[in-house]
């Protein structure tokens, strides 16, 4: 009908439904809840941080995607958004902040400098934060437009929605964290 065509309804995950109940796997339900309520930690260091401020502003509004509550405390954050150049002086700080985050945690590298060192191939700049923390999504750009940042955020949402509950306990994940030198508590 004409009324219904105006709205896009998000599809429910695969499951079995009947009047009064809906059954799906726990993975999918938890993924759906998590992906629409990610709490980001804005680790803004330079120019990309200003584009992030524009993304959080009223025009581009990252809050629509559930990321309204920015958490500056790593203990309470889900998503580490590293925006801007990371110098070698700052690299241990990034790793320390990542270690303090509780599982499940994701990392998005926004901007060319965070992804690979960017324009600055110098003695003092870390050539990409994936030398110190495992990164899930890279957003290129110098600085990336807010639309690109939102696109990267939506890719994170896709990853979050499709993650199995056992991934963080698997041996491959532990080995990957050890390869970065990140201490695991359990």
């Amino acid at each position: 009908m004409a009324e219904k065509d105006k709205y896009t309804v998000v599809e429910a995950p695969e499951g079995y439904s009947a009047p009064g109940f809906f059954v799906t796997t726990l993975d999918k339900a938890v993924g759906l809840a998590r992906k629409n309520s990610l709490w980001p930690l804005p680790f803004a260091t330079s120019c990309c941080g200003i584009e992030f401020m524009a993304t959080m502003g009223a025009h581009y509004d990252l809050g629509r995607f559930g990321a309204e509550r920015l958490s500056f405390s790593p203990r309470q954050a889900d998503l580490l958004m590293v925006m801007g150049t990371i110098a070698k002086k700052m690299a241990p700080v990034v790793q320390q902040v990542y270690e303090q985050m509780a599982e499940p945690r994701w990392v998005i590298a926004i901007g060319a400098c965070a992804s690979s060192g960017g324009v600055f191939d110098t003695y003092s700049v870390l050539q990409g934060i994936d030398k110190v923390v495992p990164v899930d999504v890279y957003v290129p750009g110098c600085p990336p437009r807010p639309e690109q940042i939102i696109d990267g955020f939506m890719k994170i949402q896709e990853l979050v929605g499709n993650e199995t509950l056992r991934r963080r306990y698997s041996t491959e994940y532990k080995e990957m964290l050890e390869s970065y030198g990140i201490k695991i508590d359990r």
């Binding site: 260091t45 120019c47 941080g49 200003i50 584009e51 502003g57 025009h59 002086k89 700049v125």
Partner: protein, 414 residues
């Protein structure tokens, strides 16, 4: 100098040793608080380790360099027209001013005079960037004192300024705007229409923002007589820009050493009294109104002419000519390979950036890159005074002082 209460004699004998001696005090009373390097209040990454006696700050130790990108070393490897991209990233809230400042420095080196149209176009762009910078700084002072609304409303206007920059040069934030000698294209009619629309809308928004904060009892109690610095100490610390003008000295590079035809225009340089946070806020607000007047005057009196000056060694020929004409191909090759005539001299050129006097000290040796390029960054220089300003204040005052001084990490570390 005309500053109220400036004591010239004290200026000449002022001693700078600011040394904190805690040995005779009972050290159990003091606690250490680490503010940074990542902290919601530090807009940028720099660390302050505060020694506190309860809520009062007794001393501060600063560490910067967390975003040191070695601009000066990179500049020794890049041709003159590629250094513009580095200057973008100094004070990234107002990149066009840095870009145009660099182009003015190269023009001074080469001895090039730009025509009036280029000058007026540059004034329009620089004042738009200055408005953008002051909008961020003032709204962030509001955010740090708890007033988040102003920030959200004011950022809409920053989006409008971004759209104008996009029309002019293609990029929003790190603009890499213009060329040595002018611009690469004229202002399109859409750009002029957008500037006029912004000039019509901005007064109302600025009035709304000022009504929110300027006569607000809470804001005034938090900012008047807080974070102040005297004019003598500010001059000793080589302050420039709104921070110095808030302390009472009316030093503005646009008036002292006019560049880009600023002397054709009449504008006020606002000056404060106490150098405290409220004065800095008001000085920046007034500068925004003055910038709007400058843009209106420049736009109404924009003379006819070309949008760039003849600096053949720096303007790449149009691509269709490079692919079809021999002279253009040779000219492009010579430019890229660096076989152009650059005199061997050293210059110092300064512009009034958003934060103060942004200086470029260039030593040219005739090659395609400068032998030495030093950026005189205002943020780096006035941030040294921070421990002296906050000693004796409470932690919340220190947070507000830091944001009112408008310390941008890119400019601090370069």
């Amino acid at each position: 100098m005309g500053a109220r209460g400036l004591n010239i004699e004290r200026m000449k004998t002022i001693n700078s040793e600011h040394h904190l001696d805690l040995t005779q005090q009972d050290e159990k009373v003091y606690s250490t608080l680490n503010l940074g390097p990542t902290h919601p209040a530090t807009h940028g990454i720099f660390q302050n380790v505060l020694t506190m006696n309860g809520e009062t700050i007794v001393g501060a130790e600063q560490t910067i360099g967390y975003i040191h990108r070695a601009f000066e070393k990179i500049a020794e490897r890049r041709p003159y027209y590629q250094i513009t991209t580095l200057t973008d990233r100094l004070n990234y809230c107002s990149s066009p001013i840095n870009n145009i400042g660099w182009h003015l420095a190269v023009e001074k080196l080469l001895g090039v005079e730009t025509n009036k149209r280029v000058d007026y176009m540059r004034i329009i762009v620089m004042e738009l960037a200055r408005i953008a910078d002051h909008l961020v700084c003032n709204s962030v002072i509001g955010v740090d004192s708890g007033a988040l609304t102003g920030f959200v409303y004011v950022f809409q206007e920053r989006e409008a300024i971004y759209e104008i920059f996009e029309e002019i040069c293609g990029a929003r934030l790190t603009t890499n705007l213009g060329r040595v000698g002018g611009f690469d294209r004229d202002f399109s009619p859409i750009a002029i229409q957008k500037i006029k629309a912004l000039l019509k809308r901005l007064p109302k928004i600025l009035h709304e923002f000022e009504n929110l904060l300027m006569r607000n009892r809470i804001f005034m109690d938090r900012t008047i007589n807080v974070g102040g610095i005297s004019a003598e100490r500010a001059l000793s610390y080589s302050f420039t820009g709104p921070n110095l003008r808030a302390a009472g000295i009316d030093y503005d590079v646009r008036v002292q050493e006019p560049y880009s035809s600023y002397n054709d225009f009449d504008f006020i340089v606002p000056v404060g009294e106490n150098g405290d946070i409220y004065d800095r806020f008001c000085v920046r607000e007034t500068e925004m109104w003055e910038s709007m007047k400058l843009i209106t005057n420049a736009l109404n009196n924009l003379p006819e002419g070309k949008f760039n000056t003849e600096v053949p060694d720096f303007f790449m020929p149009p691509k269709e000519d490079v692919y079809s004409k021999m002279e253009s191909l040779i000219s492009q090759f010579k430019m890229v390979m660096g076989e152009i005539d650059i005199p061997q001299k050293e210059i110092y050129s300064a512009v009034e950036a958003g934060n103060g006097e942004l200086g470029f000290y260039v030593v040219a040796d005739g090659g395609r890159s400068p032998y030495r390029l030093h950026f005189r960054r205002p943020g780096f220089i006035y941030y040294q005074a921070f421990p002296e300003i906050i000693t004796g204040a409470s932690l919340s005052d220190a947070i507000l002082t830091m944001s009112s001084m408008n310390v941008i990490a890119g400019e601090l570390d370069a």
